[in-house]
Structures are given as structure tokens and as C-alpha cells.
Symmetry: C2
Subunit: 337 residues, 2 copies
């Protein structure tokens, strides 16, 4: 099943069920006015939403035309956003670039930060930030959970996964070192993220959803050029069950909580071989190519995003069809002056 | 004006207006079913809520009996919870105890962490945690904001403060060093917090609300004995306008966001003089007395909370009347086994 939220109605938008091919949609006020409301009563809402979904797919209901550009993030705001760093390759590169070891515990205990969830930007929204903040994207996979009790096992946590989405976890790289040096984690350096137009139930991914991971390439385009296509099912040290269970160790999670994978990153040889141009799978953030450059050339060469730059994030099934719709965020530094 | 949320209705509870003396209350479904809904439309709701408040105070409306024990946290869940460390004395002590300097920037750039806001515990709720996690309380003052635009000044941010509450920011001290060493801040070490039964508009504090600070002692009792009574208006390096503006530097804040002061802490001479028994103002968390013990005696002597321990947090006006009602949390380690 595919769900989206239109930028109309109140602060939480308007829930629509979207056809598998992303062509048609149907608002469902009698079932749930918003996705957040559907998450609160998922057991009741889900079977009814699936009936609408089936009718859209079969053509029994023609619905309305679906416009990704009219969407907000599926949850324009929510109760919880916690983001892991499940692709340890990314962490290894970042550490190697600054001459530090990766502690052994990082392979058994997920690195994760508490994010802000009070307002996300739309999938086609603008990233408003100052250029000197070091504007970067991070292309990731995320899940939305139902209620998860405190102390849930990874298996229990995996069963509580309701939806899968993509995210551009906007990162302000030049603010990060100062914030991390203070010791309390990210705050100003992680502004509002943008999620994919469409959230899908795990069954929608078919065989690509296995072991609580999404086994498909995540595509990133920067200013129209393919920049990355690593497989999100490869080199993911912690699956989503483990990531959700990590949050739940000392507290329950409320339905509608979002947990992220961290920047998708596959192990590759070196700077030369890792780029798309040279046959590699590329990168899901600018910071990663900059770490290769730092390791091999002594300093980064690729700049962070500048005014007008556009990042596009998408994931396609085996037949090349977009699963989640496309995130496309343009950077606007003028409005942040 | 005073507002509270009863543990009835849906996940967000039921909003009631509470009389100034905390004796009577009135549900207001025609104005706003929940406090969260009132925050979303504050400009419309506030004058109507004030009419109900005036009627309760004058006796024109007898309302219902108000029972603090029936309350949830005023916002049982919300979009944002960011907690500062505005009382630098606390930071200085913690650093001194481990032989570290306080960076000069800490006096101009607030230390703050992003907390989880997807589920708080009720004011009289139980803290379920394992004893080996090092269970501590942190008594603080917090504010609830309206919408705050990105880049707001401290003055603009102060004007966006809608409500004031107290909080017990539960902290799992034994999990903190490991998490902070990982570099991404608190996650498991900051479980669900408990807020005061009642949230009040700043005008309700009268002259005690000055310069976006609350100039009254914050009272903490541990197992029935007075443990702390530092003045929340003293030694607060950053006021609430500055704290909210810190969050807003790179992103907007949604109405209903909670921003905290950090553990209230007044500068005192030493371990001997700082305790209530010896005429000091005491402490708002166990960690603080433990830092004095570490500095002066080489190691901490006061244990963290154990099964059955109860912390009570309250603030009273000049006439000794409770302003926010009382937080009273009992520790239950048996249920976290």
C-alpha cells in the first residue's frame, strides 16, 4: 500500500491513498484525515485503507490525478525522529579522514542521534540555509513504526514497522565539528529533513524487503547528474529491527515514530574507483566523497551545496518504476541571509 | 492562566482550564479538545480560554474538582523537546569533577541537547528503569513556544513563549559516558520526562517572570526531605529567549515545542555549605552533589535513585501557594528487569 500527504488542510496535511504506479490518489477523510491520525489507530485504519488502495489499482476507483509536487512529507511533523548510522563504511571513512580509529563497539552498538521532528520540509521543498554552514544532503532509507514497548527485541521492533520512506537528512557540515565538540550531539547542524512523497508498507517492496532491510539501489542525482546508486541492502551493519530496538531500550516509542538508516554507503576501493564516472556506485552525501579526497589527496576538493544546487533522491524497482516518488530539494541561500 | 491535561480521551488527553488556586477545573471541548490543539490555534483559543479561567477564579463557574493525580503531562507528547544547560554552575561542577576546563564559548553559546518528545510520563507517573543505569532526576523550568521562525532573535523568541512548566528530566547517568563518548549526544540515557500537572502563561508569574526567567526557588524533595531550593532566576546564564533562539538558528520551531533550562543550579561554596542541612540551597539532581563529593572527597558517596525512591518537584509563590502543582515520580526498577 502507498500513502501520501497533500499540502492542504491543516498543519498535518491531508492523507491520500496512492495507486501503485503513482498516477492516481484518493483522499480518505472517513478513514483518517491525516497520516498521523492513521498511525494512531493503524489496526482499525489499515484494512480500510487497503480496500481503497485495491480499488485504485484495479481501476474500480479512478480517484484523482496524483501530483508529487503537491505533496508534503508523508508526516509533515511527528513525535519522534531518530537517525542511525547503520552503514559503518561511512563512519569508517569519516574516521579515517581524521586519523581516528573506529571503536570495536561501533559494530555491535548502533551510532544514532535524536533528531528534531516538529517540522519537515516537503519532498520538493527548498533547503534554506547559509552557504557557510556547509550544506550537504544525506540520502537514507527510513521506517515509520507503530507503538513499540520499552525493551522490545529487534524481532518485536521489526514487526512494529508500518511504513518505509526515503529521506534527505539535510546536514550543515560546517556547524557539526563545533556542536560535536560541545559533547551533546547535533542540534543546529541538523535542520529540517525532507521525506519522499510516498510512504509504502513493507509488503509493497516484495522480495526487496528482507531481514528488515531494503535491497535496492538508492539513486542520488546532483544537478541532474547521477551521483550515487549504492544498494541499501548491502553493508548495512544494523537492520531496522535493531535500530528501532536501540531507541526502545530505555523508553517506549509512540506510533508515528521515524527511525532512519543513516547515509547509505557501500564499501568501495578508493576515490578513483568509487565515483559513478569510474564505474563505482558513488555516494549518498557530499561528505563521503570529501573523505575519500581527504584520505587520498590531503584535503577535500568537492564543494558543499551552493545556491541553486538541486539534489534528487529516488529508488526504483527491478522494472525501473519509482517506488516512493522523488525527493527534489533546491538550495536557497539568499533567503537565509 | 493555568492549563492542564487529564488522562482521559485520546493519546493527547483532555484539556482543562484550572483555577489559580488549583482547586477547580473545566474541560473546554468547544474551544480545544487538547492542549496540543490549543497550541496549533493559540491566537483564536487563548482569549476564549481566558474567559473560562476568569469564570473559574471568580466563582461564576464552579467547574469540577481538580485532581493533580488525574493529570497527564500538559503535553503528553509533542513535536519538539530541546533542553539547554543554562545554569553554567552545574556544567562547571561536572567538568571540575573530571578535571576538565569549561570552554570560554560555553558562556556565550548555550549547551543544548535534542530530546525525545513522543511520550512523556504523567506528573505522578512511575520512572521505570534499571538501577544499574544510574537513575537520576533533573528539576528544571521549561517553556512551551508558539511558532518561531527560523533565525528569530532572542527578543522575538521570548515573545513566542506561551506557557511555563516544570519538568523532571529523568537521566540515566551510567549510560551517559558511553553515549557521549560515541559523539552523537544523548539517546538511551535520556528516557521519558515528566512535566508539572499545570502549565501557566508567563503573566501568571507576575513579577517573578522577568527577563524571560522565573525568579523563584525550585523545590526538590527526595523521599520526603527537602533536597534543593535554588532560585531559578539566579545564575541562569541564558534566558529562555536566548535558549529558544538557539534552536531557531537553522530551522523554524512548531507551536507546542518545549525548550528547557537544564538542571537549576546556584553557585555555592562547597559540599559542606551547599547542602540544605548546612544552610545551602541544595541541588536539583543527584549528579550535582556527587560532583561536590568527587571534587572534595575523591569519589561520589550519594547513591543514585533506587526502587521505591520518590522525587517531588514544586514551585511556590511568595505566599507559599503551589503554582504548577507537584511532580512526584516513584522509581520502579522491578518492571524494567
Amino acid at each position: 500500500m502507498k500513502l501520501a500527504t497533500l499540502q492542504q488542510g491543516g498543519r498535518d496535511g491531508t492523507l491520500v491513498v496512492v495507486s501503485r504506479d503513482l498516477a492516481r490518489c484518493r483522499a480518505v477523510p472517513a478513514i483518517a484525515p491525516t497520516l498521523l491520525a492513521a498511525m494512531d489507530g493503524w489496526e482499525r485504519a489499515e484494512p480500510q485503507l487497503r480496500q481503497v488502495y485495491d480499488a485504485l489499482n484495479s481501476g474500480a476507483d479512478q480517484g484523482e490525478a496524483f501530483d508529487e509536487a503537491a505533496c508534503h512529507s508523508p508526516l509533515p511533523r511527528t513525535w519522534q525522529w531518530a537517525d542511525g548510522s547503520a552503514y559503518i563504511n561511512h563512519v569508517e571513512l569519516v574516521r579515517r579522514a581524521r586519523g581516528a580509529e573506529v571503536p570495536a563497539s561501533f559494530y555491535t552498538d548502533p551510532l544514532m542521534y535524536q533528531g528534531g521532528s516538529d517540522g519537515f520540509i516537503p519532498p520538493r521543498g527548498t533547503v534554506v540555509a547559509r552557504e557557510e554552514w556547509g550544506i550537504d544532503f544525506e540520502a537514507e532509507v527510513t521506517v515509520v513504526t507503530g507503538d513499540v514497548p520499552m525493551g522490545a527485541s529487534a524481532e518485536q521492533a521489526a514487526r512494529a514497522i508500518r511504513l518505509v520512506m526515503l529521506v534527505n537528512d539535510v546536514s550543515l557540515r560546517s556547524l557539526i565539528p563545533g556542536e560535536l565538540a560541545k559533547g551533546f550531539g547535533f542540534l543546529q547542524s541538523k535542520p529540517a529533513s525532507a521525506f519522499s512523497p510516498v510512504a509504502v508498507t513493507p509488503d509493497e517492496l516484495g522480495a526487496a524487503w528482507q531481514g528488515a532491510k531494503v535491497h535496492l539501489p538508492l539513486q542520488v542525482h546532483l544537478n541532474g547528474e547521477l551521483f550515487g546508486k549504492p544498494n541499501a541492502g548491502v553493508d548495512m551493519t544494523f537492520d531496522f529491527g535493531q535500530l528501532v530496538a536501540h531507541v526502545a531500550k530505555t523508553r517506549a516509542l509512540c506510533a508515528g515514530s521515524i527511525v532512519g538508516s543513516g547515509t547509505v554507503s557501500n564499501k568501495q576501493g578508493n576515490l578513483w574507483g568509487s565515483s559513478i564516472a569510474n564505474g563505482g556506485v558513488g555516494y549518498c552525501c557530499l561528505a563521503e566523497v570529501r573523505t575519500y579526497e581527504t584520505i587520498e589527496q590531503g584535503k577535500p576538493a568537492t564543494p558543499f551545496m551552493q545556491h541553486g544546487d538541486v539534489v534528487r533522491i529516488d529508488m526504483r524497482d527491478g522494472a525501473g518504476r519509482s517506488i516512493f516518488g522523488t525527493i527534489e530539494n533546491r538550495v536557497d541561500t539568499a533567503s537565509a541571509a
